[in-house]
Amino acid sequence: MADLTIPERIPINLVVNGERRALEVVPWTTLLDALRDRLELTGTKKGCDHGQCGACTVLIDGRRVNSCLTLAVMKDGAEITTIEGLAKDGTLHPLQQAFIDHDAFQCGYCTPGQICSAAGLLAEGRARGADEIRELMSGNLCRCGAYPNIVAAIEQAMSRS
């Protein structure tokens, strides 16, 4: 019979939204669960836990990543930006404001992932028009079907950045 004991916890440090956070995690804890359950940053969403929906997208060292496919222990020392870290001093990030202006969400559950993914997309500088935005944002599902408004919001933020 297999060993039924849980592996030892490993200490790690994450820099989350500019703040250094020390925690101990078992090796199988995903970055997503560490953020939601351990650091109480529930803005990052779990929609599938399989990298299929994009709701858990965060920025790691500036790149957009599915946090459900990332083990927390792999990111010791990394800089992580979640949806809670985008607004500065109460002023919304241009993407957050654009999402409100264009009604780029309904239920709001995919929204943090969409916005983090869009922030990563802008940083990549690969998208030049609507067709490319659609293609490069297709890893973030929205069941409410707000896609045209999401594209419009990203175009607004792109034109102002």
């Binding site: 019979m1 039924l4 004991t5 849980i6 078992v26 199988w28 804890t29 669960d33 359950d37 109480e40 940053l41 529930t42 803005g43 990052t44 969403k45 779990k46 929609g47 599938c48 836990d49 399989h50 299929q52 929906c53 979640t82 949806i83 809670e84 985008l86 607004a87 919304l92 957050q96 999402f99 409100i100 202006d101 009604d103 969400f105 309904q106 239920c107 709001g108 559950y109 995919c110 929204t111 943090p112 916005i115 935005i133 659609r134 293609e135 944002m137 297709s138 890893g139 973030n140 599902l141 929205c142 069941r143 409410c144 079907g145 707000a146 896609y147 045209p148 408004n149 999401i150 594209v151």
Partner: protein, 734 residues
């Protein structure tokens, strides 16, 4: 008066949603919170012969494993398990009730541990042995066992005879697969134990009071023992109408262990909840050479479970749309070893109207008539089933406005006649129809002397925009800026509301707000009159108006007085009024929303790849409370229609009675790249009969007609008629 109603006000909950501050059911913290993980049955029918939890219990961090043999008491009468929207006939499913297995994926145990990963790991250590029984899960092989349920509409004339003598006839089966809602949020419940037997239950639901009453009856609790809260819901689309497994399991575990417990279903486990049932729709149309109908026959055969009869009105929509002296409708069910289906966006209409509108397109081809022209020749100004006029029906205008915006007049009717480079181009259209329902809802308004109002109601906002329209209507009715209105929803202790569904919440909640605001206005008028030396001493309460924080007479007599002054003078800090709004019953008119949908597809003929490049959806749905969120509702419906036409299908392996694509990668929903131009047109439709504000609701109408318009466009592009949905590229290449 209308500073906000009818405008494009941005969502009042927008900031919470874009900053991550909005909390969903599985995100509420509690001291000593435990985590439950569900173990599911892996057979379709039979009984549990042996369930061994000993290994799971040995895992460090596991607190308990609940099973049918180890759990607190559960109600044993079916009535106790029937929630507000349970099917009339049947015995609702009871998680962990006994050893019977009714469907593959049924929850059979709940592993409860100190953290989620431990519970998940330990769940793999629960050993189950079954006694399997013969089962059936395939609608098509069991089609002959279909039994008729109550007819949706009385037959008129003799449709069979009229079909026999019809000059032009079209008859075909259209097959619509089972579909799953797949809201982005996982179904979750956090049941918070208060230390003395009471529970606060944060649940993903479309109706907190429905869940609260259900839990009280299932667990034999008093109303004060359980409070259900659901401030934000990450999509539901019908899947959250009935109380779901996780809320029973979390509550069960919290009561068993006297601790707070969270249960979150996995995406895979959510395929054991309700779904849109697979339906075979047989439509027969008989027409005269001039394009008028003489006969309509529509029969639907749908899946249900063996333990409940779930059926919706698939057939009979033609009674609202197309004149025909002879009609016959029937709905049949096949009992299978699956979980009970449930409502999914525009239940019945999304599927039934899809079949009807594909059939109408085929009839237009047979008659060599333009599809829009055929619909105009058959246009019905009355609901034929009850022979009633409509409170309003601007469908003709939908056809005209939609066709114009789309450029329909430039369509070459011949299939395969239009191209764009190497892609075939197809243009198709269809009609949509849904009901304009309204329900009793109560609202409480607390107006405070600082000019702020809190508006509260138990209704849910599942992303539909209820928070926003409630704020808009209240701001207008109270004459306050919308920033001074705060809205509280989805707490079972708030004033009465039904589940949010059927497109009824906009009209129902808006009129409840008006009713409560009316009480506030009367009270303010009474107080204003009573002020010593009041400039409004002659005020007739019925003529009092509230505008810009002032109360005045609508007749212009006397000066306006600020609401703040009235309250200060009356030594009142707050005025609280609650009112239940009930709509007068009026059976003299039919109440429906309508739409005309136009679709363009482009198809790579060699690869069979289909792109929906343009959709125009012209909707007549009474007054639109918020043009921004309203447009989003219709756009979302259109995206769902694209999914229904081209992508979505729950695929079952009938050898095991198990769903094969129970995840969100192999169950295809539209992604951003699948969606192109969507043009939403709201046709003016004043309606002073349906209700005071002329509201009809938008949640369902956006999807209805869209799959048929796309299917008809695919035919126009390729000359191939695909009657089995979704229209995937393999079917085009066959």
């Amino acid at each position: 008066m209308n500073a906000y109603v009818g405008t494009s006000t941005s969502r009042v909950d927008g900031r919470a949603k874009v900053t991550g501050a909005a909390k969903y059911a599985g995100e509420f913290a509690a001291d000593g919170l435990l985590h439950g993980f569900v173990v599911e049955a892996t057979i379709a029918r039979g009984r549990i012969a042996r369930l061994d939890t000993s290994e799971a219990l040995k895992v460090k961090g596991v607190v308990d494993v609940l099973t049918h043999a180890r759990r607190p008491p559960l109600a044993d009468k079916d009535e106790a398990w029937k929630d507000e929207v349970a099917p009339e006939k049947g015995s609702p499913f009871r998680p962990l009730y006994d050893d019977r297995i009714k469907f593959n994926g049924q929850p059979i145990a709940l592993v409860v541990a100190e953290d989620w990963e431990t519970a998940k790991f330990a769940a793999t250590r629960v050993r189950v042995e079954y006694e399997q029984e013969a089962f059936a899960t395939d609608l098509e092989s069991e089609r002959d066992k279909a039994e008729k349920v109550d007819q949706p509409h009385k037959p008129r004339g003799d449709a069979a005879a009229a079909l026999t003598r019809a000059a032009v006839r079209h008859e075909a089966d259209y097959v619509l697969p089972s579909e799953h809602h797949n809201p982005m949020e996982l179904f979750a419940t956090t049941a918070v134990w208060d230390g003395s037997g009471g529970l606060t239950v944060y649940d993903k639901t479309q109706g907190v009071q429905n869940v609260q009453k259900f839990l009280c009856s299932v667990f034999g609790k008093k109303p004060d023992d359980i409070r259900v809260i659901s401030p934000y819901v990450g999509g539901a689309f019908g899947s959250g109408l009935r109380p779901q497994h996780q809320v029973v399991l979390a509550t069960l575990a919290a009561l068993a262990l006297k601790r707070s417990v969270r249960v979150v279903l996995t995406r895979q486990q959510m395929y054991g909840l309700g779904y849109r049932p697979m339906t075979i729709e047989r439509v027969a149309l008989g027409a005269k050479p001039d394009g008028t109908l003489d006969a309509i026959k529509h029969e639907a055969i749908a899946v249900t479970s063996r333990y409940e009869d779930f059926s919706r009105n698939d057939t009979g929509w033609a009674e609202q749309l197309y004149k025909s002296p002879n009609s016959n409708f029937s709905h049949k069910l096949v009992d299978l070893d699956v979980s009970t289906p449930c409502d999914m966006r525009a239940p019945g209409a999304a599927t039934g109207v899809c079949a009807l509108e594909c059939a109408m397109d085929e009839l237009a081809v047979a008659l060599k008539l333009d599809p829009v022209e055929l619909r105009l020749r058959c246009y019905s100004d009355r609901d034929q089933s009850e022979d009633l006029p409509y409170t309003s029906k601007q469908l003709r205008e939908c056809y005209a406005r939609g066709a114009e915006a789309f450029g329909w007049s430039r369509r070459n009717p011949a299939p395969r006649s239009m191209r764009d480079g190497k892609e075939l181009v197809g243009w198709g259209m269809a009609t949509g129809v849904w009901e304009a329902l309204q329900m009793p809802v109560a609202v409480r308004i607390v107006l405070t002397a600082n000019g702020h109002a809190e508006v509260s109601c138990a209704a849910s906002d599942i992303g539909t925009g209820t928070y926003t329209i409630v704020a808009q209507v209240a701001a207008d009715a109270l004459g306050l800026p919308i920033e001074n209105i705060s809205v509280r929803l989805a707490d079972s202790t708030l004033p009465q509301a039904p589940v949010e569904g059927g497109s009824w919440m906009a009209a129902s909640s808006a009129h409840a707000v008006l009713g409560a605001a009316e009480e506030i206005r009367r009270e303010l008028a009474r107080l204003a009159k009573a002020m010593s030396g009041s400039p409004l001493a002659d005020l007739d309460a019925a003529n009092a108006t509230l505008t810009d924080g002032m109360i005045a007479s609508s007749e212009g007599r006397g000066a306006a007085v600020s609401i703040a002054d009235v309250m200060r003078h009356s030594k009142l800090e707050r005025i609280e009024k609650e009112k239940l709004n009930q709509f007068a019953e009026d059976k003299s008119h039919a109440r429906n929303t309508h739409s005309a949908v136009f679709a363009e597809v482009k198809i790579d003929e060699e690869l069979g790849i289909i792109r929906v490049t343009r959709i125009v959806n012209a909707v007549a749905a009474g007054r639109i409370l918020n043009t921004k969120t309203g447009r989003s509702q219709i756009m979302g419906g259109v995206v769902w229609g694209i999914g229904m036409a081209l992508h979505e299908e729950t695929v079952m392996d009938h050898r095991f009675g198990r769903i094969m694509n129970a995840n969100i990668a192999e169950y295809h929903i539209p992604v951003n790249a699948d969606v192109h131009d969507i043009d939403v047109i709201f046709v003016d439709e004043p309606d002073d009969r349906i209700n005071r504000l002329g509201i009809k609701g938008l949640g369902e109408i956006g999807i209805v007609g869209v799959p048929a318009a796309i299917a008809n466009a695919v035919y126009h592009a390729t000359g191939k008629r695909i009657r089995r949905f979704p229209i995937t590229l393999d079917k085009l290449l066959e």
